[in-house]
């Protein structure tokens, strides 16, 4: 009697066809990502170049502070290259976190007027971060050419670490997005965390600077594992991976992802009422 395209909405039992809906609305996801990208640089003169200026300047400052002033060890590579290898994933994480976190609140109009699986909104913000990442990656290539640095074969493993970064970013982003709907305090917490994280994460320095007994604790921050991985892939050799630390970061990252999505799905049905 019920045809395959019948939909049933029952109190208390939503989202049984969520995965199916996610697939059905895939085009909308692309459109939202496209919109976010377009809007970013509308009416700007410098345009896309801003995606490059930020990491470049950050690299200069960190190199100056940590490399010259404090004279941190660089493991035999030019300090700016070292720093940039850290900036690359960090920037991805920071952009993804900020954009995803704010995404639901920015799209209040959509949420209260149209139906589609809300998970697509923070997912769309990931695309913006990814585009920035790719632009910065191009710059990294230029940097490597400048320093005449040939990367080892492990560079082929870079996408794996990007995947880890995506998982961690999306996990935290989705948590913040869902929490921000009810508690707008996160509007202030997120920029602070990003600012704070830039210094606590091994962006401006090597993670081996952290004393051995704190390494495991330090690796609870999933970005530590990602940055270490990036450095290992690109710079190889001296920057051996700290395997226990990496495991902690990987587990931590995926834990954040799974719990983030769980919390998001649990609160999703009240978004339109609370936002």
């Amino acid at each position: 009697m019920t045809s395959s395209d019948e939909t049933v909405i029952v109190a208390g039992r939503s989202g049984q066809r969520y995965l199916h809906d996610l697939w059905r609305y895939r085009e909308l996801f692309l459109f939202l990502a496209w919109r976010d990208l377009l809007v970013r640089y509308k009416q700007t003169v410098v345009g896309v170049a801003w995606s490059l200026v930020r990491p470049f300047l950050t690299m200069l400052v960190l190199t100056l502070v940590f490399g010259k002033f404090v004279n941190m060890p660089s493991g035999g590579v030019p300090y700016s290259l070292l720093v940039f290898c850290g900036i690359l994933p960090w920037q991805f994480f920071a952009t993804a976190l900020s954009e995803s976190g704010n995404s639901l609140v920015t799209n209040t109009g959509l949420i209260s007027k149209v139906y589609f699986p809300r998970l697509l909104i923070p997912a769309g913000s990931l695309v913006t971060a990814l585009v920035d990442f790719l632009i910065s990656l191009a710059f990294l290539v230029l940097l490597m050419i400048w320093y005449r640095w040939t990367p080892p074969a492990t560079i082929a493993l870079l996408p794996l670490f990007l995947l880890l970064a995506t998982a961690a970013s999306f996990g935290v982003g989705v948590w913040v997005a869902a929490l921000m709907v009810k508690y707008r305090d996160f509007r202030f917490i997120v920029p602070f965390v990003v600012q704070f994280g830039l210094y606590i994460s091994p962006v401006g320095f090597l993670s081996c600077v952290v004393p051995e007994r704190y390494r495991l604790l330090y690796s609870l921050n999933p970005i530590v594992g990602v940055i270490d991985g990036f450095r290992w892939c690109i710079l190889g050799g001296e920057h051996a991976l700290n395997w226990p630390g990496l495991t902690v970061s990987v587990v931590g990252g995926f834990f954040l992802l799974v719990t983030g999505i769980w919390y998001f799905r649990r609160t999703e049905r009240t978004f339109a009422d609370v936002i």
């Binding site: 049933v8 208390g12 949420i111 007027k113 305090d185």
Partner: protein, 422 residues
């Protein structure tokens, strides 16, 4: 026999609204409470465990109905009755607290004009965005792009950011996209209230096309004319409950009669009259052709409106002009019986008499009408009672042929003849 596409069973939606008594959620209120009156805050916290008073509010309750394929259902009700909540539940934007909804096919909801429009993007980009948000596939959008642009008449400004558009252009563009959706079920919420007259006509026309194509439409509106012309069925929602389901005329009648509070009050008891008061109408009634008081008459019947009045100073008032004006359900004036135009001499009102306005062969289609009466003496208004009486007109053999005229066309029956000739 068309099958049911939407089934709603015992639908209920409850909201919890908080009232501020001792405090409220949110960091700000906490800080304020502590800062301003630290002592009272501490005392109140210790005194009452819960400083928040929460009230349960049912926006919708026990709503059940079903809709068949191809039906155009109008939903009417006062503001705050729960119509938009019903649409939101149907569109899956919010979840029901109780009950269930079952529907077949795709639902496209138009709860707002220009959903997802971004002011920085151009018209062209926004068409794509809005259409995608409303559920159109990219291939469909490309196919219908030109149609949408033609409907919206904004071709010249397609590549300008939408923030530069006038409000009319904005609305035309938004509705242009919406008008070309092709869902099985279309849900529309009062979006036709915007725009100028030409645009509204265009939109209603387009909605009529959609209904003709056999799609199911649910339409919330305060525009009763739109509902009665577009819809095959109507639902009346009042205070969260489904009060009535039936033909648009019947439902609209019930809705309007609810909001017309004074109509049933006797004329003598009416307090909202105007005029100096030398003469006051005390009772109005409709009489049939045998001068008997009746509650309802038929089309084509010879009727009279009887106006009983009181003269304050018990004298004959000369130079009187009296009018009885008939209006339809929506308050639109239909015709007026004005003594100044239909009589050569002005009336003279004598105390203890009553006034009869006789209308031969009543030319009104079946329906419910109200009439307003007023009286002037020597040019000054003495009494004015709006909607003093109600007249129900039933089907009648106006043309004397035995073939009853339909009541869905127009408001009047006009005598005419047919002949075949050169």
């Amino acid at each position: 026999m068309s099958d049911t596409v939407i089934t709603v069973e015992d639908l209920g939606k409850q909201y919890v609204i908080g009232h501020q008594s001792g405090g409220d959620d949110g960091l700000r209120h906490l800080i304020e409470a502590v800062a301003w009156t630290p002592l009272t805050w501490v005392r109140s916290r210790r005194a009452q465990k819960t400083s928040k008073v929460k009230e349960e509010f049912w926006a919708l309750r026990d709503v059940s109905f079903s809709v068949k394929q191809g039906e155009a259902v109008g939903i009417v009700g006062r503001n705050g009755a729960g119509k938009s909540t019903l649409l939101k539940l149907l569109s899956r934007i919010t979840e029901p607290t109780r009950g269930r909804i079952r529907y077949k096919g795709r639902v496209a909801s138009l709860l707002e004009v220009g959903t997802g429009f971004h002011p920085e993007l151009t018209g062209r980009e926004n068409i794509f965005l809005n259409a995608a948000i409303l559920g159109m596939k990219r291939s469909d959008i490309m196919r219908k792009f030109d149609e949408i642009v033609a409907f919206s008449e904004v071709e010249r400004f397609l590549d300008t950011p939408v923030k530069r558009y006038s409000s009319g252009m904005y609305v035309r563009l938004a509705f242009g996209v919406a008008a070309h959706l092709e869902p099985e079920i279309l849900v529309v919420d009062e979006v036709l209230a915007v725009g100028d007259a030409t645009f509204q006509k265009k939109c209603l026309g387009r909605m009529g096309n959609i209904v003709e194509e056999g799609r199911t439409v649910l339409f919330v509106s305060h525009n009763m004319a739109a509902i009665s012309s577009l819809c095959t069925r109507a639902l009346l929602i009042d205070s969260g409950r489904l009060e009535r389901s039936g033909s648009p005329q019947a439902v609209i009648e019930e809705y309007l009669s609810k909001s017309r509070a004074d109509a049933s009050l006797a004329v003598s008891a009416r307090g909202d009259r105007r005029g100096n008061g030398r003469v006051r109408f005390t009772k109005v009634s409709a009489l049939n052709d045998r001068h008997q008081v009746v509650e309802s008459v038929t089309s084509g019947q010879d009727i009279s409106i009887c106006l009983e009045y009181d003269i304050r100073d018990s004298e004959t008032l000369k130079n009187a002009v009296v009018q009885v004006k008939f209006s339809g359900l929506l308050g639109q004036p239909l015709f007026a019986c004005l003594s100044r135009t239909s009589l050569r001499e002005p009336l003279a009102l004598t105390p203890g008499s009553r006034l009869l306005c006789s209308i031969p062969h009543l030319p009104l289609v079946p329906g419910v009408y109200t009439y307003t009466v007023w009286c002037t003496i020597g040019g000054t208004l003495e009494d004015f009672v709006a909607e003093a009486g109600k007249l129900s007109v039933a089907e009648g053999d106006y043309f004397g042929t035995g073939n009853l005229p339909p009541n869905t066309i127009g408001d009047f029956l006009v005598a005419h003849t047919w002949s075949v000739g050169e």
